[in-house]
């Protein structure tokens, strides 16, 4: 038996070792859980809510519901813009907050039916049966006629190089 080994030390000072072990474990577990559980509530939803913007940029009217046709024309004419898609971005779904308080708000995108295949392709997503579209990390509800007129629609501009266009 090596009298100077760490294991001999533990055998001699069991109580101290157990006390230190328990103290560090408890504090470390507490801190980890505090950060991990709060991160999932406050940060992850915020991040997943903006991920769709890595594929598109959104142009909305500052006042009112309708985009100025001149602005729409400017967007269409911009050589960096690959496609202009009318969409309604004001929709959302509120998931109940884990710790109470306000709901977690997830944005939804209402598209014209003919634009759905393009958006799905761009997002590497596939259409399941029925009217629900499952995207990579979020869900979009698709309802025909949700955005029939351009009056209340946002424009999604897709850049030619694959990056968001502005």
């Amino acid at each position: 038996m090596n009298p100077l080994s760490v294991w001999t030390f533990y055998r001699r000072h069991k109580r101290r070792a157990v006390l230190l072990l328990g103290l560090i474990s408890l504090v470390t577990v507490g801190l980890y859980l505090m950060v991990a559980l709060s991160w999932a509530i406050f940060v992850d939803p915020m991040r997943s809510n903006l991920m769709f913007l890595s594929k598109y940029s959104v142009v909305q009217p500052d006042l009112g519901d309708e985009l100025d046709p001149t602005v729409v024309g400017q967007i269409r004419a911009n050589p960096d813009v690959m496609q202009v898609i009318p969409a309604n971005h004001d929709l959302g779904i509120g998931l109940p907050e884990v710790m109470g308080g306000e709901d977690n708000w997830f944005n939804l995108l209402a598209l014209m039916e003919e634009d759905v295949p393009y958006v799905l392709e761009r997002c590497d997503a596939t259409l399941k049966e029925g009217q629900i579209l499952w995207l990579a990390s979020s869900t979009a509800l698709h309802s025909p006629g949700a955005c029939q007129s351009s009056a209340s629609c946002t424009r999604l501009a897709t850049a030619r190089n694959g990056c968001p266009a502005a």
Binding site: V6, Y32, V98
Partner: protein, 156 residues
């Protein structure tokens, strides 16, 4: 494009705002962690001081036998380091089990995913073990600086 009538939302603009909010949240956690780390370090320093006072003879004899003070400090740091490493692994198992239970019972039913591989919470688990090791090494170095090994041998 620029216009006073339109509002252009790009990934960059939203991401920079989100990054700012994330920075604030991390700062809040870091402030809490610093407070807890300082308290834990003081508690461990007091515990160590009491323990080292009881081991004064052991250190005195080892020092008289020719072990340098640096060797004694490193030995204590190794002792504490191994306790801390075991405690950290025990904690890691508890995190895993707790996160799995929280995911199944609370988060999944509310549509939220818990990511066990997220590095941020893991980074917050290191300051306390490091503070404990450093405090232990610091306390023993301070005690040994004033240790008279000959007096210890004479008392025996």
């Amino acid at each position: 494009m620029s216009s006073t009538q339109t509002n252009v939302t790009t990934y960059e603009t939203r991401h920079s705002k989100a990054k700012e909010r994330m920075r604030n949240i991390i700062l809040l956690f870091a402030t809490t962690e610093i407070g807890i780390t300082v308290i834990a370090a003081i508690a461990v320093a007091i515990m160590n001081y009491i323990s080292l006072a009881q081991r004064r003879e052991e250190f005195g004899v080892l020092n008289a036998l020719g072990r340098s003070r640096l060797w004694l400090v490193l030995r204590t740091a190794r002792e504490t380091g191994s306790v801390v490493a075991i405690a950290w692994w025990i904690s890691a198992v508890i995190y895993g089990v707790s996160l799995f239970c929280a995911q199944v019972a609370v988060y999944a039913p509310k549509g939220i995913d818990l990511d066990l591989l997220n590095p941020v919470p893991w980074l917050f688990t290191f300051p306390i073990p490091l503070a404990v090791i450093l405090t232990s090494a610091g306390t023993i170095a301070w005690v040994l600086r004033r240790l008279d090994s000959v007096a210890v041998i004479e008392r025996r």
